[in-house]
Every structure is written in C-alpha cells, then in structure tokens.
Subunit: 423 residues, 2 copies
C-alpha cells in the first residue's frame, strides 16, 4: 500500500423507530429516509429498529442503485431490527445474538422477543480490511429503577468481546448503533476501554447538530417529553465509534446530527437523531501512529471499570439466583396444592372446589417452572460474563504489577501477558 | 521466531458422560479420569458432558498441580458441559452459544436446556498464537428419522463461522469435541471445507485404537448396543481437527483412542472413547507449506457442500414456518373455544361443562402460543444461517467464474473476491 494512501468514509446511522402499527408516520418516514440516503450516497448506512422485514425490502429496492449491497440481520422471534446498506460489496457477514436480553414475561417491553444482536460486516476497501459492527442494546425504560442494567452491562461486555475476538486482522474497526447507554454509563466505558474504540463526537473538531451531540432531543415531536425532563438538551445514546490498527491512522473529519426536525418537511425521520460522520483513514508510518495501547500507568481506569462491571454482574447473579430459588419454592407449594386437590377430588364432598382450583394451581406450577428455568439461564449467562471479566481483570492486574520494563504495554484487547485462571 | 522452531502438543479429548443421577459409576469414572490426566500430563485436556459443576470443581482441584489453568463454560439452564484443563496459561477465553439447539418441549432429550456452545481459548506457546475450540453439537437420537438434522447443520455452520471470524490472527487452530456427526455427514463436510481444518484420524500415519477410529464402540459396556447395531465397528463422532496458518506447518504425529475398556480396571472412562493426539507444529519456509487454499478447480466440493447445506436449511425454514402457522391456527381455535366457554358459563345450564373445559382450553392456548413463538424463532435462526450460506455460495461461484488467472485462489474462509448481496 502506498504511504500516501487515504480513504474517506461517509457513514450514516439511525435508529428508525419502525414498529409496525405503533410508530407514527412509519411509511412516510421510510420513504423520506430512502430519498435522503439516495441523495446523500453514503458509503455505509447502518440502521436499527427496522422491525418489519417489509420495510427493509422496501428500502432495499429503493436504495439498490446507490447501495448495491444490503443485509438484514434476522434473530429472535421478531428480528434484531438491524440492517445495513453499503455502496461497496460486502465480503462477509455474520452476527452474534446476546445471551441475555431482558425477560420474556415483560411482554410490554418486548426486547426479549427481538433477540438483540450485533451484526458484523467485513468490507475490503482499497486493500484495507474494514470490520463494521452494528448493534442495538436493551432499552432503558427507567433510569431511576433500571431492572435491565445488569443485562445491558453483560451485553456491552459480550459486544466488546465479540469485537475483540473478530477484529484481530481488521485494519479499521467501526461500531455504530443505539447502545441505550449514556456516555458515562458503565457499559459504555467498559466497551470503549476494552476495545480501544474512540467516540466520533468526542474526537471530531467539526461537529454540527444537536446540543451536546444528543441523539434523543426534546425538539423531536416523536419523543416522550416527560422521559426527557431530567435532560434539558436530551440524551446521547447513539454512537459512531472507531479505531484503526496495524499502521493505519483514522480521524473523524466531520460529524453531523439531525436536530429533531427534517429540514425539508418539518417532521423528523425518527424519534432518534441520525448520525452522519466523515472518517478519514490514512496510512501513516509507524512513528506517527498515536498509540492505542494503554501502558500500565494508564491501565488503572480499565482495572477500575472491570471491577465495577464485575460487581454489577455479581449482584445480577445473586438476584437471578434469588428468583430461581423463589420460583423453586413456589413450584414446591404448587405441587403440594395439587396433591391436596387430588385428595379432595378423590374424597368427594368438595369436588367442585377442587375442580375450580385445578386451573390456577396448574398455572402457578407452569408459570413458576418457566420463571425458574429462565432465571437459572440468566444466572448462567451472567456467571459466564463475570468469569470472563474476572480473567481479564486478573491479567490486567498482573501486567500492572510486572511494570512497564518487564512487560510490554497491553494494547487494549490484545494482552500479551501471562494469565492465571479463575472462576 | 527461529526457522527450526518446533512445538509438540499433546491433547486429550473426551465426552465424559457425566449426567448426575443417570450416568453409571460417575464418581468413580471422574476419579479415574483425574488420575489418568495427572499421570499423562497433556498440554490440553478438553472435556464434554461435564454437566455437573461439582464434577468440574473436583477435577479442577485434583488436576491443579499438573494443569494450573482451567475453565468451565457456563450456558443455558444446565450448562454447556464443556470444560478445559491446560498446562499452559490461558490468555483469553470466550464462548458462543448456538442459536438453534433442539426444542424445549422435547424435555426427555434435554439438549435445549444445555445451551450447547463452542468455547474458545487463546494460548500463547513460545510466541505462537494457538486458538483452541471445544464444542458439543446436538445429539442424534435416531439416524433414520433425525428431527434435529437441520439444527445440527445450522450449528456446524455457526461453529465454522465462529472459528473463521475469531481465528484470523491465530497461527494454529484446534477444534476438539463431540460433533455428533459421522465423517461423511453434511455438517462435518461443511465444517471442514469452510474452515480448512484437517482430521487428525485421516492425517496421522501412527494411529492406534479402536477399529476405524470409532469413538463409540460396541465393546464399551456403557453403550446402548441396539443403537450401534447398524455399525459393527461403532461410530466416529468425536474429533481432533487442526490447521496451521501464517507460515506454520502442523502434523499429527500420533493418535490414540481408548478401546471401550480401561486398561487398568476393566471398565471404561465414559460411553465415548477418549482421543489422545500428539501434534507437531513447525515453522517452515513458505515454499514447504502445503497450501490450505482450494483453487477454483478444487473449490467445486465447497460449492456443492454449500448448496447441499443451503437446501437442508431451506427445508428447515419451511418446516419451522409450517409449525408456526399450524400453531397460529390452534391459537385461533383456542380463542374461539374460550369465547364459546365464556358464553356457556354466562348463559347458565352447562356451566359445569364450561368450568371443566376451561383448563384444557387455556392450556391449549398457552401451549400453542409457546410453540408459535419457538418456531418463529427457529425460522429466523435458520433463515439467518441460510442467508450467510447463500452469500458465501454466491462469492465462491463468482470466484470460480473469474478463474485462476484473474482471481487469486481463495483460502477457505478468507475470500478475497468481490461480493454481491442476497437474502
């Protein structure tokens, strides 16, 4: 590759709010989104919440002259809602469905049914290998009492691990999507520290758009204003994150967001704001590459974040086990009740009562059984993430103890040190 | 690295048949397994069907002087059953749980509850990066009428994709485990063709063990003899597969299996036979490396296997959709029945009949609802694998059409050609 190699990448990211029957003006917004994407001709458009495959097919047809490659990531009962349109051929794609994603009995929240996932695309652009990831993490329905916090931390860790293990030969790594995480939230810090990804909003010198880069703003007519009350400018939960490896240098030239209004028609494209980034990838000689690695002195934030995440997951494991145990007791009670009913029905006399109570007691038993199974699975999933975190934490500590002389600095996510094993 | 670099790796793999309360002589077998592993001091011991975490903890304690590193892969409700003991420090580990893994209502088969997975370990041995994978695919309960065939093909594809995307910077790739696939089964061919992994049994010149390398043999007293009737020598479903990349050369010096009897006590360690392989990794100059890539002339088997797998998955999608539709009709019927019962109960007269029928109709509705959701999810999971296969198939065909002159040969799993997108 020539030393003066330079590549400009224009990206688009939007959570499209495309819930059939529920999202307002869906068809019109999809049409306008298609027109906009065709007009702007980005290199990559990464979309979330395209819940209806018909919407994807509509966009696919509309965008095919400008974006010949497209993919819809299928998952769960409803689908992951993730899709991508690319001007360049997609070399490879795959996906990883998060182990934990809410509770099936929280039907009104629906996240469990979506099978939330991360999609990976591999593109070859001018001899450069680009791994682009698109994702959507579990929604936050209440910031004060967030029952999904542990699941979102576990998802952020799984996302970070998936990126870490699948991008080892990539020159450039991109992650776009709706993380449902504020910039200082544990999951966001964990993801950035472990993968070494940079936040386009924080890195660019040329930003235009909503105040503080927010991607859900009170000016947007589709946004629930009450939910945004504690945040006068809105919240920033959608991201463009990136890094370059192996002798490449990447920078964010410009970042734009929509501002709650469509400049042409006056109504926005979604309840989220779109992100539009122009990234520049250059091939720099090694001495000019800003080191993405954190030396032992800089590794302390990683260690403290790993500890914080471990504690959060540990609490989650205890909580899941408590629910499984509780459900176990209810199963026992339900079995006792059934035995009693059988005895009553056999003995005659109160047969009618026995028949009447048959339905709720069988229901109780089945319901408690399902809750037991689900929370056992949750405990296993959280234990798994906790064990991975603990291993990384142990290795980061060891590397820190060894110091910079005896131990090469660990590039985030590519440790070279010795490891011990733990549960 | 020195040109005369050479590394000898001794591996052990066993499906331990460790089902609490059900597997015979479990405690005794675990004890003897521990003694054997300590005595032999392998580099890596990869185990499947260690269903009880207590058994893992027992082995961990027993083996810790010889194998200081260990990990248990937690998953599903019961656990993946996978664990590993290593003489060398484990640098990193993670896991991928298969999207499809049987049916929850097939409780007597139990696979769904295990959350079958593939575990990944990254080891650094003398400057060499070794990615070791351990897995256990869905069991085959009937070869004549295998209702899990599609799921196993989808699992084999997910396994191949996981290895492909996570091993791009590895020097040596190892896969051990119980694939529940015969050597000529579609899933096995797909896995080997797409990853480029070699079968230790087929490659080694020094094999000692059971006839035809079988890993379930009629001589084993724990094996169900009737199931093995069509196979006089037994079946080969456990594997050691490997490949070397980036200028390394790997060969299998020796392969041993147990033969249905423990040489000391007379009873076997499990209902499966153990595999013990000695691999030799050398650093050869590029001209001596046997090319793992298949040129266009050789790529035809890949294309035909991809086609075969696509057809199998396509049938599976149709089957899953049929079940979802059927369940949808049953839901409709159940709702009608409930409405009728409400009318009967309100009208009096046949109130007792209405009360009696309340339980089965609610049960029918909930059951059909669960079946609907599950098969919708199954259809999405299969469609996802089918789309990935179709993409790879399209690219393989294009590369073949372009011919060897205009197109560099695609190393399996690392295509360089142009891609178009499909659903």
């Amino acid at each position: 590759m020539k030393p003066n190699f330079s590549l400009r990448l224009r990206l688009f990211n939007l959570n499209c709010w495309g819930i059939p029957y529920l999202s307002k003006h869906r068809a019109d917004r999809m049409k306008r989104l298609g027109d906009f994407l065709n007009m702007e001709s980005f290199d990559l458009a990464l979309l979330e919440e395209v819940w209806s495959e018909q919407d994807f097919q509509y966009l696919r047809q509309k965008l095919s002259p400008t974006y010949p490659a497209a993919h819809y990531f299928r998952s769960g009962v409803i689908g992951s809602g993730l899709c991508v349109f690319s001007k360049h051929p997609i070399q490879e794609f795959t996906q990883h469905v998060y182990t934990l994603n809410g509770y099936p009995y929280m039907i009104h929240h629906g996240d469990w049914f979506c099978g939330k996932a991360v999609g990976l695309l591999v593109l070859h652009l001018g001899g450069l290998v680009l791994n682009a990831y698109v994702t959507h993490l579990h929604a936050e329905y209440s910031r004060q009492k967030d029952i999904y916090l542990t699941h979102r931390v576990a998802q952020a860790w799984e996302l970070a691990q998936f990126i870490h293990h699948t991008s080892k030969k990539a020159d450039v790594v991109l992650l776009c999507g709706d993380l449902n995480l504020h910039p200082k939230d544990l999951g966001c810090r964990l993801l950035k520290e472990w993968t070494g990804l940079h936040d386009a909003y924080l890195e660019t010198r040329d930003f235009k758009g909503s105040e503080e880069g927010c991607t859900m703003v009170p000016e947007n007519c589709y946004v629930n204003q009450r939910e945004l009350e504690p945040f006068p400018f809105g919240i920033r939960i959608d991201y463009v994150l990136y890094k370059a490896v192996s002798g490449f240098y990447i920078s964010c030239k410009t970042l734009r967001t929509t501002t709650g209004r469509d400049p042409h028609s006056g109504t926005p494209l979604s309840d989220h704001e779109a992100l539009m980034a122009t990234l520049c990838v250059r091939h720099s000689p090694p001495q000019h590459i800003p080191s993405p690695s954190h030396g032992p002195a800089e590794r302390s934030p990683l260690i403290s974040i790993l500890k914080e995440a471990w504690t959060e997951l540990d609490l989650g494991v205890a909580h899941a086990r408590w629910w499984a145990t509780f459900a176990g007791y209810v199963i026992g009670l339900g079995l006792l009740l059934l035995a009693l009913l059988c005895a009553l029905a056999a003995g005659g006399g109160v047969r009618e009562v026995a028949i009447l109570l048959w339905t709720p007691s069988v229901g109780l038993l089945l319901g408690a059984g399902a809750v037991y199974l689900f929370h056992m699975q949750e405990a296993k999933g959280l234990s798994r993430a906790r064990a991975e975190l603990q291993h990384v934490l142990g290795r980061a500590r060891e590397a820190q103890d060894l110091g910079p002389e005896s131990q090469p600095a660990l590039p985030l996510g590519q440790q070279e040190g010795d490891g011990t094993e733990e549960q």
